[in-house]
C-alpha cells in the first residue's frame, strides 16, 4: 500500500500530463476544498459517495489519517477484535504520517493558488494549469516543457503559511457549541467543526475489514499476510510473555515411575527354594562358636560399668614405691615458687606500712598493670573485720596462665644475697641419731684411762690406762673379758685395734714399746688363729732377711727392735713387742692393717715411725721433722700420710715421697686430729681449747673455728661408719657431739651443727676426758676419762 501511495504522489507532482489522473486529481482537490467549505458539503458528500468505489484504494491514507485523529481524540479502548486490528495497524503505520501531511500541504498550496487567482471555477483553473508551461520542441524534436518564470511576489510562496487559523480570537470555543462551525478562517470562511468520535466510528464500522486482514505483506509470497484467529491468539500470548500453547503445564506433578509399592503380580513366578525354609547351617555354626566361647569364658557377658568407675577415680597407690631419682634435663627450668607474702600484706600490719592519702590515691589512679602491688595495705583491728579478697580467683588464674603460658628464662640475678648461699640448717630430726646418754660405764682401771678403742666388729672395747693394764671389755655389757699388765712403770698411752673384720689384733703402746696383742681365749678360735698367723708371718721374714738387719746394725742404731715379749705375756696373747727409741704416745693403723704409724713426740728424728706388720720392719720416714710431732695418720683412701706437729699439719704423698700441703690451723698446740672418711676434711683439736675444721679443698686455713670448750681438747674423732658425726673430748670433762655433713658437691660447704654435750666424767687433777672412739657402725661412742672409767654413750 505504501508503494501505492508513493506512486500516487509521484503522479500528483510529476505527471500532470496524465489526463485521467488529472481529472481525479482535480476532483480530489475540489473534494478537499469542499470538505472544508460548509456550503458544498452536501454535494461533496454525494460526489464522494459516488466516487468512493473508484478511489477507495487510493484514499485509504486519508482515511487512515482520520482514523489516526480519531484514535487520538477518542479514548475509547477498542474492545473487539476489529478495533484491535485497527489499533495494530495504526501502530504499524505511524511512520507514514509525515508524508501524508506533506501531501495535504500540497493540496492546500494548490487551493491557495486558486484562491489567489480568484477563480472559483474548475475550467479557468485548468487553464491556469496549462499556462503554467509551454511545450516546445527541442533540438531532437522531442517536446520540451518550458515553465513560466515564477514571479516572486509576496505570497508567491506560501510554503510556511499557517494552516487555517481560526480568527475568532480570545473567546472560548464553547460559544460555538450550538453551531456546526467553530470559527472563521482568515478568509472569513467558516471553519467547520471537525468530525468527532461517533462520526468516525460510524464511518469505520461501516467499512468492513476482511477476515484475517493484517495490513502486512507475507515476505515469502508477497501477498497480504492473513492470520487466523488462533494464530493471533498465539501472537498475543507471546507478546504478553505467556505460554503460547493452551493447556501446557510447566510444573507437572512428579510421577514415581519406580515406587516401593508392592505390585500384586510378582516379576518372577519361580517357586520359593527350599533353603528358605531350612535353618541355616552356617549360622548354626557361628552361633555354636559363640556359645562355646561364652562357655569357655572367652567372651564375657556384657556388664554395664556401674559405680566401679567412681571408685576408680580415687584409686591411689604408692606411685613412688620404686622411686629412682632422675636428674633434671639441662634445659628444664622448674616453675618459680610464689614468693612469700610481704609485711604489708598482713591484715594488721605495723602502722608504718599503711599508705597515706597520697599513696592511696596514686594507687587507685594507677592502671591495674602499673601498680607495684596488686593490693592496697589496709589495717583491720580485728580478724572479724577482714573482708574477702575479691581478686583471689583472678590471681590464681593468672598463676595458672603463668605456669603454662609464660616462657621461662633463666636470668642471672645480679645482687646475689650472700645469705641465700648459706646452707639451710637441717631439722633436729634429720640430725638424728646421735649419742645422748651414757649407757655403760667400764670401771676397773686405777688411775687415768689413757686410750680406748672399739674393735672393727663392734663387740669389744680395749682400753689402756696409767696402771699399765690393757683391758678388753664386752662393749654392750661392760664386762671385762681380758686384761694384761704390760708394764709396771709406764702407762699404756695408746691402744688401737687393727682395721679389718677377719682378725683381731690390738696394738698397744707402753713407754717405748709397742705390743701387738691377740687377746687370749676371748676370740673365736679361727679368728684367733688367723690373727696369730699374721703376727707370726713377720718372724719368718726377719729370719730370712738377716742381712738387712745386719747392715742396719753396722751403720746405725736400728729404728726399732722387734722381739717376743716374754712367756708370761705371750701366754696372755701379747705376741710381738717392738721397742722404739722413745716413748710412744700415738698409734694409728693404715686402713689395710699392714702398716701402723706411731708417734713419740720426744723422739726428734725418730718421732714418727711406720711399722710394717708382715715384715716386722720399722721405718723412720722423716730424717728431721720441723717441730714437735703430735700425731700422725694415714689418709683413708689415698697414699697420703698426715703428720701433725705442734702447730701445723703436713700431708705427704707416700708414693712420690714429697710434701703435698701444709695446713696452718693457727693453733698454739695441736693435741690430735682426725681425717674425715671422705678424706677431704680434717678436724683438729688443740690444747688451746679450739676445735678446727679444715676443708682441704678450700684453703690451708681452717674453715670453721669452734670454741665451745672451757679446757683443752684432748681427742677428736670422726665417725667412720657412714654417719655424719664427730666428737671431741676435753679436759673440762665433757664430750661434744657435732653433726658434720660433707657433701660430694664441691660448691657446697660442709654443714656443721653442734648437737650434744655429754657430761659424766669427773675432772681429776685438771684432766677430764682423755680419749674417744666411735663405734664402727652405730651412733655410739666411748670415752676414756681421767677418773678411771670408760663410758659408752648412745
Amino acid at each position: 500500500m505504501a508503494a501505492n501511495s508513493r506512486k500516487r504522489k509521484a503522479v500528483t507532482r510529476d505527471s500532470p500530463l496524465d489526463s485521467a489522473s488529472e481529472e481525479e486529481l482535480a476532483e480530489g482537490l475540489l473534494e478537499g476544498i469542499l470538505s472544508h467549505s460548509e456550503g458544498e458539503s452536501e454535494d461533496g458528500q454525494d460526489q464522494e459517495d459516488v466516487e468512493s468505489s473508484e478511489i477507495e484504494g487510493e484514499s485509504d491514507e486519508d482515511e487512515d489519517e482520520d482514523e489516526d485523529d480519531e484514535g487520538l481524540e477518542s479514548d475509547k479502548v477498542p474492545s473487539d477484535s476489529e478495533e484491535n486490528i485497527r489499533e495494530q495497524i495504526r501502530n504499524l503505520r505511524t511512520t507514514d504520517v509525515p508524508l501524508e501531511k506533506r501531501t495535504s500541504q500540497l493540496t492546500h498550496e494548490d487551493e491557495i493558488d486558486s484562491t489567489l487567482n480568484g477563480k472559483l471555477e474548475a475550467a479557468p483553473e485548468e487553464e491556469e494549469l496549462k499556462c503554467n508551461y509551454t511545450v516546445t520542441t527541442d533540438a531532437n524534436g522531442n517536446p520540451r516543457y518550458l515553465y513560466k518564470e515564477i514571479n516572486p511576489v509576496y505570497d508567491s510562496d506560501d510554503s510556511d503559511a499557517p494552516e487555517t487559523t481560526n480568527t475568532i480570537g480570545n473567546i472560548p470555543l464553547s460559544y460555538y457549541n450550538a453551531y456546526p462551525h467553530i470559527g472563521y478562517d482568515i478568509n472569513g470562511k467558516k471553519i467547520m467543526r471537525p468530525a468527532k468520535g461517533e462520526a468516525l466510528d460510524a464511518l469505520l464500522d461501516s467499512i468492513d475489514i476482511p477476515k484475517g486482514w493484517t495490513g502486512l505483506t507475507d515476505p515469502a509470497t508477497g501477498k497480504p499476510l492473513e492470520l487466523s484467529q488462533e494464530e493471533l491468539e498465539v501472537l498475543k500470548k507471546i507478546t504478553r510473555n505467556e505460554i503460547p500453547e493452551e493447556g501446557y503445564d510447566p510444573y507437572p506433578d512428579m510421577v514415581h515411575y519406580f515406587s516401593g509399592k508392592e505390585e500384586i503380580m510378582p516379576l518372577s513366578a519361580a517357586p520359593e527354594p527350599k533353603r528358605r525354609f531350612v535353618p541355616s547351617k552356617h549360622e548354626a555354626k557361628r552361633v555354636m562358636k559363640i556359645v562355646k566361647a561364652i562357655r569357655e569364658g572367652r567372651i564375657q557377658p556384657y556388664k554395664p560399668p556401674a559405680e566401679e568407675e567412681e571408685e576408680q577415680d580415687f584409686q591411689v597407690y604408692d606411685i613412688w614405691a620404686d622411686e629412682v631419682p632422675r636428674p633434671d634435663h639441662d634445659m628444664h627450668i622448674p616453675a618459680p615458687k610464689m614468693p612469700p607474702p610481704a609485711y604489708d600484706e598482713s591484715y594488721h600490719p605495723p602502722p608504718e606500712y599503711l599508705p597515706d592519702k597520697d599513696e592511696k590515691a596514686a594507687w587507685q589512679e594507677a592502671d591495674e598493670e602499673d601498680r607495684e602491688t596488686e593490693y592496697l595495705p589496709t589495717d583491720h583491728d580485728a580478724l572479724r573485720k577482714v573482708p574477702g579478697y575479691d581478686r583471689f580467683v583472678k590471681e590464681k588464674f593468672e598463676r595458672c596462665l603463668d605456669l603454662y603460658l609464660a616462657p621461662r628464662v633463666r636470668r642471672n640475678k645480679l645482687n646475689i644475697d650472700p645469705e641465700s648461699l648459706l646452707p639451710k640448717l637441717p631439722s633436729p630430726e634429720e640430725l638424728r641419731p646421735f649419742p645422748t646418754t651414757c649407757a655403760v660405764i667400764f670401771r676397773s682401771h686405777e688411775g687415768r684411762v689413757r686410750s680406748v678403742s672399739i674393735d672393727p666388729r663392734g663387740n669389744l672395747l680395749a682400753s689402756g690406762g696409767d696402771d699399765g693394764y690393757v683391758r678388753v671389755w664386752e662393749l654392750l655389757t661392760g664386762r671385762q673379758l681380758w686384761n694384761v699388765k704390760l708394764s709396771d712403770e709406764d702407762a699404756v698411752d695408746a691402744v688401737r685395734w687393727r682395721p679389718g673384720k677377719d682378725v683381731a689384733i690390738l696394738a698397744a703402746a707402753a713407754g717405748e714399746s709397742i705390743y701387738l696383742i691377740v687377746p687370749f681365749a676371748i676370740l673365736s678360735p679361727d679368728v684367733e688363729q688367723s690373727s696369730r698367723d699374721i703376727l707370726d708371718a713377720g718372724w719368718g721374714y726377719a729370719a730370712s732377711n738377716p742381712s738387712s738387719s745386719a747392715n742396719g746394725t753396722t751403720t746405725k742404731e736400728l729404728p726399732a727392735r722387734w722381739s717376743r715379749p716374754g712367756d708370761h705375756l705371750e701366754d696372755k696373747g701379747v705376741l710381738v713387742q717392738a721397742t722404739v727409741r722413745s716413748a710412744v704416745k700415738v698409734i694409728n693403723w693404715h686402713r689395710r692393717g699392714e702398716y701402723l704409724a706411731t708417734v713419740s713426740p720426744r723422739g726428734q728424728s725418730s718421732s714418727v715411725a711406720i711399722h710394717t706388720l708382715s715384715k716386722h720392719l720399722t721405718q723412720l720416714p722423716f730424717r728431721r721433722l720441723k717441730g714437735l710431732a703430735q700425731s700422725a695418720q694415714f689418709h683413708p683412701s689415698k697414699p697420703i700420710f698426715f703428720v701433725a706437729t705442734k702447730n701445723s699439719i703436713r700431708s705427704y704423698d707416700l708414693a712420690r715421697q714429697e710434701l703435698v700441703k701444709i695446713l696452718q690451723p693457727g693453733a698454739k698446740w695441736i693435741s690430735s686430729f682426725d681425717v674425715h672418711p671422705g678424706g677431704d676434711n680434717i678436724i683438729v683439736g688443740t690444747y688451746d681449747k679450739r676445735l678446727l675444721w679444715h676443708d682441704l679443698d678450700l684453703s690451708t686455713k681452717p674453715y670453721k673455728t669452734l670454741r665451745y670448750h672451757k679446757e683443752a681438747i684432748r681427742a677428736v674423732r670422726f665417725h667412720q661408719g657412714g654417719l655424719p658425726l664427730f666428737a671431741d673430748a676435753s679436759d673440762d670433762g665433757s664430750l661434744q657431739i657435732f653433726h658434720g655433713k660433707v657433701v660430694g658437691d664441691l660448691m657446697e660447704n660442709a654443714t656443721i651443727v653442734p648437737l650434744k654435750v655429754l657430761r659424766g666424767h669427773q675432772v681429776k687433777s685438771r684432766l677430764g676426758v682423755m680419749d674417744i672412739d666411735w663405734h664402727p657402725r652405730e651412733p655410739w661412742c666411748v670415752s676414756a676419762g681421767a677418773d678411771g672409767t670408760c663410758r659408752l654413750w648412745n
Partner: protein
Amino acid sequence: MTRIKKKGTSGAAKNYITRTRAVKKLQISLPDFRRLCIFKGIYPREPRNKKKVSKGSTAATTFYYTKDIQYLLHEPLLNKFREHKAVAKKIGRALGRGEIGDAARLEKTHIPKIKLDHIIKERYPTFIDALRDLDDALSMLCLFANLPSTPHVPPKTIALCQRLCHEFEHYVIVSHSLRKSFLSIKGIYYQATIQGQDIMWLVPYRFVQRTGGDIDFRIMGTFVEFYTTLLGFVNFRLYTSIGLVYPPKFNAKSDEDGGELGAFQLEGKVVPREDKPTTNDDAPQAITSAEAQAEADKVAALAISEQEKEDETSTALVKADSEENTEAIDTFETTAQDADILPQPQASSSEIASLFAPFTIYLSRETPRAPLEFILKAFGCKRVGWDGILGDGAFTTNESDPAITHQIVDRPALPSESLPQVPDVAETETRGAAPPKAQWPRSTMPGRTYVQPQWVWDCINQAKLLRPDLYAPGAELPPHLNPWVKPKKGQYDPNVPLEEQELEGEAEAFEDDEEEIEGKVSDVEEVQPTKDGALAGVEAIIDRDSSVEAGEGMDVAGSESESSNSDSVSDQEAGGDEWEGFDSEPESEISDTEAARRQHQRELEAEATGSAVQLAATTTKSKNAEIRKKAEKKRKQEQEEKERLKMMLPRRKRKLLERIEYGANKRDKEAEVLRKKRRRIENAKRAAEAV
C-alpha cells in the same frame, strides 16, 4: 669443598618450634594441646636469639622447645584425646538425630577415662620432687574447695578438692609438720615442712569468691584435674609413711553437719597403739553434760600424768648421773670471742608440736573455726571446742564447760550496762541440759583466758606462748608480722628498734623536717586523720615549741595543750614565720650564716627584754643541724668517691654496677620512707604519753 649449609636447618632454628607448628605436628586441636601442655608441664621458651629462630620474621610468637614437642608425640594421652574426639562426634550425631538415650549411653560407656598416673610418675620421679611442687597444687585445691558450684565447677570436683585438702590437713596435724601461718588480707598462708621441703599454701577466707571477668575455668579445671591426682598420691604416700590407712574413713553425715576435719577418721595400719594420734576420737561421743566432760578430762589428765611418771621412771633408769639427758639438742655457748658461732636449729618440732597441748580451747561463734581448729590441732591441742552453730565435731559445745582454759573471742568488749540482763544466771548447776550460763561478753568465767584469734597465730610463729593480756578482747592488737620475710641488709625491719636501723644523722634530719611540716599543721592532720591520739601528740609538741619561740615562758604550754586546735595552729604559724628563712635552705652556707646572724640578733633582743629561755632551744637546734650536716657531708664524700671510682670502670661494668645499684637504691628509698613514717608515729605516741 664442603656443601654450603642451608640456613635454618640447624641450631636454634631447629631447636625451637612455634606453637602453630607444634599443634600441627601433634595433629590435635589447640585446646587439647593446651591441656596436654598443662598435664605434662611443658611451657614455652624464650629463645636467646629470636630472629634466628623465627627465620627473620618479627611477629610475636610463642616458641616451644622442639624436643619437648617430640616427647609429646609419644604421649598415650594423645590417643585418648583422639578417642574422645571420635566419641564426641558420635554423641553429636546422636543428639542431632534426637537419640538422647544413645547419646547418654555413649557418654557413659565410651568416653575414654583419662588417667594421669604415669604423668605424675614422669614429672615427679621421686616423692621429694612432688612435695617440692605442692605449693601451687594446695593453693589451687583450697580455692576450689571453697568455690560455689557452677557449670564450670561441678560439685563433684569441689567435694574431691575438699576431701583431699582435709586429708592433707589431717596429715599435717598428725605429723605436727605445720611451722608457720600468717593472716594476710588475701587469706591465710600456711607453711609446713614435710621431709625437709617447705610447702606454703594460701587458703582464702570463707567468702563467696568473685569469679567474674575473663577467667577461663577450663584452664583452671585442667590444673585442678592434675593437682587432685597429684595430691591423692601424695596423701597416700604421706599416710602410709606414718602408718595410717589411706583413704581415711569418711563420715558423710558428719560432713553434712559441717564436721569438716572431724568427718574423717584416721586409722592405723596395724593394731592401733596407745599413742596413735586419732584426732577426733572424742568427736563421736556426744558430750552431754559439763560434769561428764569434766570427769572425762580428769581421767585423761590422770592417764597423761601416769604416762609422764612412767616416762620419768624409765628415764631415771637410764640416767646414771645427775645430769638430765634429753633427746633435745643442747645450746652451745662460745667461750671466747674469736670463735665462729655455728647456727643451731631452733627448738625441736616436738616441743613446738605440744605448744597448745595442755589447753582446752573454746572457739566463740564469731571466730573462723576451720583455720583455728587446724592450727590448734596441728600444734598439739587435742581439745578444741566450739559453738554448735559452727559445725559438727567439737570437743565440747558447752561454753560454760569448766575444763576450758582458753576462749578465743573476736567480739569487742561491751560495757556491761549496754547488755540486756539475763535473769537467773547463778543457780544453773543442775544436771543434764543445763541452761547456758551468762557468757562472754556478759561475763567471764574465772580461770579462763580470753584472747583474740591473732594470739594463736603469733604464738605459733614465735614458737612460744605469748602474753595473752596483749591479745585480750577489745585490746589494741600488736601488729601481726609476717614470719617469712628475712630483711636484707639495708631493708627496713619492723622488728628492730628504729634507732638501730637509722643512718647517721637521719633522726636529726627528721626532726628538722618535722618542724618544717609543723609549720603547716593541716598537713599533719591529713596524714593522720584517724589517729586522734597521735594528732594530739603532735599538737603538744607544736605547742611547746611555739610557746618557747614566743618567749612567753613555760607556764602557758600546759594549758595550751588542752586548748583548741585553731589556737595552737595560729600560735605555731606565728612561730613558723620566724623559722622560714632557716628551714627553706638548710644546707647552704649562706643560710647558716644568716641563721647565725639572726641568732645573734635574737640574743641581743633577749638581752634587752631580759629573758634567757631562747638559748637552750636554739642550742638543741643548732646541735641537730650540726650532726646532720656532718653526716650529710660524710655521705656526700662517700658518694663522690664512689662516682670517681665508677669513672674508672669500663662502660660495661659500670652499667652492670648501676643495674645492681638500682635495686639497692630502691630498697633504701623504701626503707627510708618507712623509717620516716615510723618515727613520726613514734614521736606522736611519745608525745601523747607525755601529755
